[in-house]
C-alpha cells in the first residue's frame, strides 16, 4: 500500500496569516478571539469570534476580487504557502488534485446579494454571484491556479468537512488515483447572517471558548483556511522533498441518531477506525487534538469517547479551538497543522482559556501552556452536526 506523507502546510486564520505565525501563537497559547467587526455585528447577541484581521484584499487583482468570495481568498493564500513549503510549482498536472472542505461556502456572497435585492430593493446582483458562492469555488480555484487537473471536489460535512476532505485525499493518493493532493478546508462564516443563524441554537459563548473546562459557555466561531500537500511517499522522496509527517489513517463513521446531539459511541468507532487504518495501537498515540468545541454536550461526550478508546491511559488532549476558534468546515485543517507542530517540533499546543477541570471530562488536558513531549503519533478528531465523525491519524516522519 502506498504511504501518504505531508510535504507542505499553509494557513490563514485568526492567529496569523501563515504557518510560522500560527505556530508561534500555538506555542504561546495565544487566543485569536475578539470582538466581531463586520457590518451589523452590533445587532447580534453574540459579538465575539476568531476573525481573520486586517485582511488585505489588494493582494488580489480587481477581476480576481470580483470572482473570489473571502472563503476562496483564504484557501488560495493557504494553498500557495503549502505548495511553496512543499517545493512544488504548477502546473501540477493530471496526477494532482484538490479536495477542500467547507460548510457554508460563499455565505458572504449570499448575504451581500440578499441584502442588495431584499433590503436595498435593487434589481440585480453582480454577474459572478454563482461562481463566487458555489461550495467548490475554493477547490476549483486552487486547481486552476496550480494546474491540478486530477480529482478535484469539495466536501461538505459541517464541522467535519476538512477532516473528511483530508481523509478522502489520503485515499486518492493511497489508491494511486493521484500522486499529489492539496487538501484541507476553508470557511468564512463570520458575517451577520452566519452568526445570526448560529445564535438560534444557543450554543455560542458570549465571551471565551474554554474546552473541557468547568464553566465553559460554548463555542466561538472562527474563520480561515488550512491546506496540506499530501503526497505519495515515494514521489516525495524521489524529488527530495522534506517530509513533515505521515497521514497514516482515516476513520469515518455516522451516528445515525440525532441531527445535532453527539454520540460517544460513533465518535469512539471513528477513532478506532482511524487507528486500525493507520496500523496503530491506542498506546502509540502521544497526542489527541480534540474536537473540543467548548459546548457542554460535545466535551462531555468526547471525553467519554476518548476514555472508551484509550481506557485509563489516555494521552494528552488539547483543543486548539480556544485559539483559532471553531472554523467549522476549515477547523480540521487548522487542527491537522497543530498536530504537525506536535509531531515535528515536540510541542503539544495547549487548550487556551482553561480554568478548572470538569469531572465530566476526566482527561489529561494540556491547559493554557504548551507542553514539550516527543509525539510519535497523533489523532485529530472532528464530530459534526448530522452525526458525522471523521478522525485522522498522523505519524512522525
Amino acid at each position: 500500500m502506498r504511504r501518504v506523507v505531508v510535504t507542505g502546510i499553509g494557513t490563514v486564520n485568526a492567529l496569523a496569516g501563515d504557518v510560522p505565525g500560527t505556530f508561534a501563537a500555538f506555542r504561546a497559547g495565544r487566543s485569536g478571539i475578539g470582538p466581531l467587526t463586520f457590518r451589523d455585528a452590533g445587532r447580534l447577541t453574540i459579538r465575539v469570534g476568531a476573525e481573520v484581521r486586517d485582511w488585505d484584499e489588494a493582494r488580489f487583482t480587481p477581476s480576481e476580487r470580483a470572482l473570489y468570495d473571502r472563503v476562496t481568498q483564504y484557501a488560495l493564500v493557504a494553498g500557495a504557502e503549502a505548495l511553496a513549503m512543499a517545493g512544488l510549482a504548477g502546473p501540477l498536472g493530471p496526477r494532482a488534485g484538490v479536495i477542500m472542505g467547507t460548510a457554508a461556502g460563499g455565505i458572504r456572497t449570499w448575504e451581500e446579494s440578499y441584502r442588495a435585492v431584499f433590503a436595498e430593493g435593487r434589481n440585480r446582483v453582480p454577474p459572478l454571484v454563482v461562481p463566487r458562492l458555489m461550495h467548490n469555488a475554493a477547490a476549483s480555484h486552487l486547481s486552476i491556479r496550480h494546474g491540478a487537473s486530477g480529482p478535484v471536489l469539495s466536501v461538505a460535512s459541517a464541522c467535519a468537512s476538512a477532516n473528511h476532505a483530508l481523509g478522502l485525499a489520503l485515499q486518492q493518493v493511497r489508491s494511486g488515483a493521484a500522486d499529489v493532493m492539496l487538501a484541507g478546508g476553508a470557511e468564512a462564516m463570520l458575517c451577520f447572517g452566519g452568526v445570526k443563524a448560529w445564535e438560534g441554537l444557543r450554543v455560542l459563548s458570549p465571551d471565551m471558548c474554554r474546552p473541557f473546562s468547568l464553566g465553559r459557555r460554548g463555542m466561538v466561531i472562527g474563520d480561515g483556511a488550512g491546506v496540506l500537500v499530501l503526497e505519495d511517499e515515494a514521489h516525495a522522496r524521489a524529488r527530495g522533498a522534506r517530509v513533515l509527517a505521515e497521514l497514516a489513517g482515516f476513520g469515518t463513521t455516522a451516528d445515525a441518531g440525532d441531527i445535532v446531539a453527539p454520540d460517544p459511541e460513533g465518535a469512539a468507532r471513528a477513532m478506532r477506525a482511524a487507528l486500525a487504518d493507520a496500523g496503530l495501537a491506542p498506546g502509540d498515540i502521544g497526542y489527541v487534538n480534540a474536537h473540543g468545541t467548548g459546548t457542554l454536550l460535545n466535551d462531555r461526550s468526547e471525553a467519554r469517547a476518548i476514555r472508551a478508546v484509550f481506557g485509563g491511559a489516555a494521552p494528552p488532549v488539547s483543543s486548539t479551538k480556544a485559539m483559532h476558534g471553531h472554523a467549522i468546515g476549515a477547523t480540521g485543517a487548522l487542527e491537522a497543522i497543530a498536530c504537525i507542530l506536535a509531531l515535528t517540533e515536540g510541542i503539544v499546543p495547549p487548550t487556551a482559556g482553561f480554568e478548572t477541570p470538569d469531572p465530566d471530562c476526566a482527561l489529561d488536558v494540556v491547559a493554557n501552556i504548551a507542553r514539550e513531549a516527543r509525539v510519535e503519533a497523533a489523532l485529530s478528531n472532528a464530530f459534526a452536526f448530522g452525526g458525522l465523525n471523521a478522525v485522522l491519524a498522523f505519524r512522525r516522519a
Binding site: R202, L204, S205, G218, V260, A261, G294, T295, L296, L297
Partner: protein, 86 residues
C-alpha cells in the same frame, strides 16, 4: 398580559413542541419530565421570543441556567414576566 395568560401561552408553546394537547402539560410540570429534547427547547425559546416580543438570554451550555431558568413551566412563566417588565 397577566400571569395566567402568560402561563397559558407557555403551555401552548411547550405542548406544540411535544406534539401533545395543552391539557397534558401541567402548570407544575418540569421540562425534562415532559421529554423535551435540546432542539425542542431552542424552538420553544424562539416561539416565546416571537410571541411575547422578548429576547430570552438562554445559553444551552450553562447547566444552572443563571440568565433564564427553563426547568419548569413555572420558572419559564416567571422568566417571561420578568422580561416583559423589562
Amino acid at each position: 398580559m397577566d400571569r395566567a395568560g402568560i402561563e397559558a401561552v407557555v403551555i401552548e408553546i411547550l405542548a406544540a413542541q411535544l406534539l401533545l394537547p395543552p391539557s397534558e402539560v401541567a402548570p407544575d410540570a418540569r421540562v425534562d419530565d415532559l421529554g423535551l429534547d435540546s432542539l425542542g427547547k431552542v424552538e420553544a425559546i424562539f416561539a416565546l421570543e416571537e410571541r411575547f416580543g422578548i429576547s430570552v438570554p438562554f445559553n444551552a451550555n450553562e447547566p444552572d441556567q443563571p440568565d433564564f431558568d427553563f426547568q419548569s413551566v413555572g420558572s419559564i412563566v416567571a422568566g417571561v414576566e420578568r422580561l416583559l417588565r423589562g
